[in-house]
């Protein structure tokens, strides 16, 4: 009758245990560094009481004295249920002096672990069977830190053995990863490309303001190259400054305004080609607006996530990537534009038509970003 009532009471009524209790968890942290492997294992006193009996006098209160008396038994019990293997070879685990810690659901014994594997492992296997025989619902929450990378996993009877790759992530690979992100970002960041193109389009031309009110072909490649060089350098310097400042947290601007300002910069740069205001010293324009574009790059870098231990590395890598991507665009653009500079096609269709088109697209971006709607698919 009682069990029957239980069914109807707790299911028809919804079973609502007082959940200040939670299921049994242990917390296993393992940290792999150049100097070796260490660990810490927090195990609930309540679970240990059920497994091996810690409350010696049975009065319902576990005291520090009672726990202390059981330290070696606790360590032996726990370590018989944890095995680590580095690249297949068993690692030795030495327990240290236990302490006490409070987690949300009660007191835990804190068991330090000194772990010795034959050599620095590239792969770590963990066999975890703590309390598997007395509480299959028990889980070990693993926090594995290896060479700056943190991994979490849930250990328990559902997956008694789990293997983790610890391949050392070299600083170089990390650097390359961020550089690649930088290149990738400038290539798919159409607003940056269009801004740069708007400034570069006139570089193979010269403005004959007094006489003709029109663009004329530049005389020498050297002239064009110097112009481009100044623009790209100014843009790079400027966005490097703000990228660094924003990433390191010295300055922060609301992203909507940054994005809107970037769109506005593209509109202005493009219109400047049709109705020139700045025809020489466009590098100053590049510098001024470059400051804004830097904030845009910074938010991408923040989205990617920054490794705390290699912040400068990530920053430099990403920035160099952006520059590399930019230079590739310039390298493709300059010879082509220089070759075409005398044609009406370049001066009308590309220079004027292209600039108007860029201004139009950027104008829509500007509206989209200011008023938060979506019109263009890119």
């Amino acid at each position: 009758m009682k069990a029957l009532l239980a069914a109807l009471l707790f299911v028809l009524g919804g079973w609502t245990p007082a959940q200040a209790h939670k299921p049994s968890d242990s917390y296993l942290s393992i940290s792999v560094s150049d100097s070796g492997i260490s660990g810490q294992w927090d195990i609930a006193l309540r679970d240990l009481e059920f497994a091996i009996g810690v409350d010696a006098d049975g009065n319902g209160e576990i005291t520090w004295g009672e726990v202390r008396a059981k330290h070696s038994e606790i360590a032996a019990y726990a370590l018989a249920r944890l095995a680590l293997r580095g690249d297949g070879a068993p690692c030795a685990i030495e327990p240290g002096a236990q302490q006490i810690d409070d987690h949300t659901d009660g007191a835990y014994t804190v068991l330090p672990l000194a772990i010795r594997c034959a050599k620095a492992p590239a792969q770590l296997a963990i066999d975890y069977t703590l309390f598997a025989d007395i509480d299959p619902q028990h889980r070990g929450l693993l926090n594995l830190q290896a060479l700056g990378i943190t991994r979490t996993a849930v250990l328990g009877p559902q997956a008694p053995t789990q293997t983790f790759e610890l391949k050392a992530v070299s600083r170089w690979t990390q650097f390359i990863d961020y550089a690649r992100e930088g290149v990738w970002h400038i290539w798919i960041g159409f607003d940056h490309i269009l801004f740069l193109l708007s400034l570069l389009l006139p570089a193979v031309l010269l403005w004959r303001g007094q006489q003709a009110q029109q663009w004329q072909p530049a005389g020498t490649f050297r002239q064009a190259f110097v112009d481009v060089f100044k623009i790209v350098t100014a843009f790079t310097l400027a966005h490097s400054i703000t990228l660094s400042l924003a990433t390191l947290g010295f300055v922060s601007l609301p992203s909507r305004w940054v994005e809107s300002a970037i769109a506005a910069s593209v509109v202005l740069a493009a219109l400047n080609n049709v109705w020139p205001v700045f025809h020489s010293r466009r590098w100053m324009v590049a510098f001024g607006f470059g400051l804004i574009h830097g904030f845009g790059f910074a938010s991408v870098l923040v989205d990617l996530g920054l490794p705390r231990e290699a912040l400068a590395l990530a920053l430099v890598g990403f920035n160099l990537g952006v520059e590399g991507g930019q230079l590739a665009i310039v390298a493709a653009f300059l010879p082509l534009a220089f070759a075409l500079r005398r044609t009406a096609f370049y001066r009308r269709a590309v220079m004027v038509g292209g600039s108007v088109a860029i201004a139009a697209v950027a104008g829509i971006w500007l509206a989209e970003r200011l008023f938060n709607f979506k019109l263009l698919p890119f």
Binding site: L4, L5, A6, A7, L8, V11, L12, G13, G14, W15, T16, P17, A18, Q19, A20, H21, P23, D25, Y27, D47, F50, D55, G58, G60, I62, T63, G65, R68, Q99, I100, D101, T104, G106, A107, V110, D135, P136, Q137, L141, I149, R151, V154, G156, Q158, T173, Q174, D177, E181, H185, I188, G189, F190, D191, S255, E259, D303, G305, P307, W365, F378
Partner: protein, 453 residues
């Protein structure tokens, strides 16, 4: 309503904890709206902690910044509880456990455990011990006992056809873990082999009710009726009828059965009164609902479910101050803590912030071990206390795929309404219309959702 059951971690959740899925990064208003970036093996190098924990499909700053920060802080808080120390004296009490020297019940249980350990394949002993542990779990709400009970059945846990008594207990434990299909298979086999197994029939009816299979639940009640008290039989039928277009006769029949059952114990009466209150509330007869709730509370039996249900009733009536009084001692239970936090918010009580923080920590702890049995409560928490509509809807949908009681439908409808996504609540609306469910609140929510189209 408000079931909180212990559950075995779901395989998918576990996997996603280890293997970070390809994440996409985006910035608001970027020309390339979302940069897809297959992360593969490099992912751990570049991802911030927050992404590693649970990769959202697409991040956008600054909209997601609060969430990222919150997740990172939660993860950090979980880790940073750590402040290992050496207690100042041997006499310092660190933990309270059942006192075997004082409590004969504890000693009994231990003796039974010792006997079972000597003979772990003895089905009678194992079932006896499992029942005791399940009772403990129900009585003091400690889900560890569900794990202990499972361990006693470990000799048969994966067997296709264990002894019937083992099989029924295995079903009970499986339903705690929301493994309803497996539990039903065990129970079907049990009632076929033993048609007079009242326990199996009652669990069968109960699980079908949770799954909203009312025809099957009615069959369960029929099987149970000749084997139990008239009151429980009537309650079982009323639970089915009240959700299938016959709420008024259901209430009348249960009411009559309660009057006739003069000898019923307080627990049984409390259960029947709570059902009556809920049926009346759904029908919109708030005065009758309040009478039944109060009568049930007056029985003086501590019952978390009843308290939670009455607290919800009061919250709906705009009487949060009464909730704060009703639950002033109940902060240990998650479900009650949730009601306290909701009431505090409604009443502008300064204690609300602390309760909300505690709840967040409890949900984080459950998530850390891959437990998904709290989704209904967490959905309500996300919706009402965190204002995270999309997360609330995600949780409510995921929960509704497993449990389909009135409360599950309600949070799904509410979350869909808040997110202005009527289609997301289609299963709940279909449930309402197919079964002709009579519920003033649910109908009005469904109508509002219909108006969104």
């Amino acid at each position: 309503m408000d079931t909180l059951r212990v559950q075995r971690p779901d395989a998918h959740t576990r996997a996603s904890r280890k293997i970070t899925q390809p994440a996409a990064f985006c910035r608001q208003g970027r020309p390339a709206a979302c940069i897809q970036r297959p992360l593969g093996p490099v992912e751990f190098r570049v991802l911030p902690t927050a992404c590693r924990m649970s990769p959202p499909p697409c991040l956008s700053l600054p909209r997601d910044l609060p969430r990222l920060v919150a997740t990172a802080l939660a993860a950090w808080a979980l880790a940073a509880v750590a402040a290992p120390h050496v207690p100042s004296s041997d006499a310092q009490v660190l933990e309270r456990v059942p006192a075997r020297a004082v409590d004969a019940g504890v000693r009994d249980l231990q003796a039974l455990r010792t006997a079972w350990r000597a003979n772990p394949r003895d089905a009678d002993l194992a079932v006896q011990l499992a029942r005791r542990y399940i009772d403990q779990a129900a009585a003091n709400g400690d889900p560890r006992y569900i794990g202990y009970a499972q361990a006693t059945l470990s000799a048969w846990w994966t067997e296709p056809a264990p002894p019937m008594a083992v099989r029924v207990q295995r079903a009970v434990l499986r339903q705690y873990g929301h493994q309803f299909t497996e539990a039903l298979a065990d129970l079907d086999a049990a009632v076929q082999a033993e048609p007079a197994n009242a326990e199996a029939w009652s669990w069968l009816a109960a699980i079908h009710l949770v799954r909203a299979d009312y025809a099957a639940a009615a069959r369960g009640c029929e099987g149970l009726a000749p084997l139990t008290t008239p009151l429980l039989a009537a309650g079982c039928r009323a639970a089915v009828d009240s959700l299938t277009g016959r709420a008024e006769p259901a209430a009348a029949a249960l009411s009559a059965a309660l009057k006739a059952a003069g000898d019923a114990g307080p627990e049984e009466r409390l259960w029947a009164l709570t059902r009556l209150a809920e049926i009346a509330e759904r029908r919109g007869d708030m005065a009758a609902a309040e009478r039944s709730f109060r009568e049930a509370l007056a029985l003086g039996v501590a019952d978390v479910y009843l308290q939670a249900a009455y607290a919800d009733f009061l919250l709906d009536r705009g009487r949060p101050a009464e909730v704060l009084t009703l639950l002033k001692d109940g902060a240990r239970a998650d479900v009650l803590l949730l009601r306290l936090a909701l009431a505090a918010k409604a009443a502008n009580d300064p204690r609300g912030a602390g309760w909300t923080r505690d709840l967040a920590a409890r949900f984080d702890a459950a998530r850390a071990r891959g437990d998904r049995t709290h989704e209904k409560e967490e959905a309500r928490f996300a919706l009402a206390l965190q204002g995270d509509t999309s997360r609330a809807l995600m949780l409510a949908r995921s929960n509704y795929a497993v449990q389909r009681e009135a409360a599950d439908a309600r949070i799904l409808l509410e979350a869909a309404l808040a997110a202005r996504k009527p289609d997301a609540a289609a299963p709940a609306r279909e449930w309402l219309s197919t079964n002709r469910v009579e519920s003033v609140v649910l109908r009005s929510l469904a109508d509002k959702l219909g108006g969104l189209r």
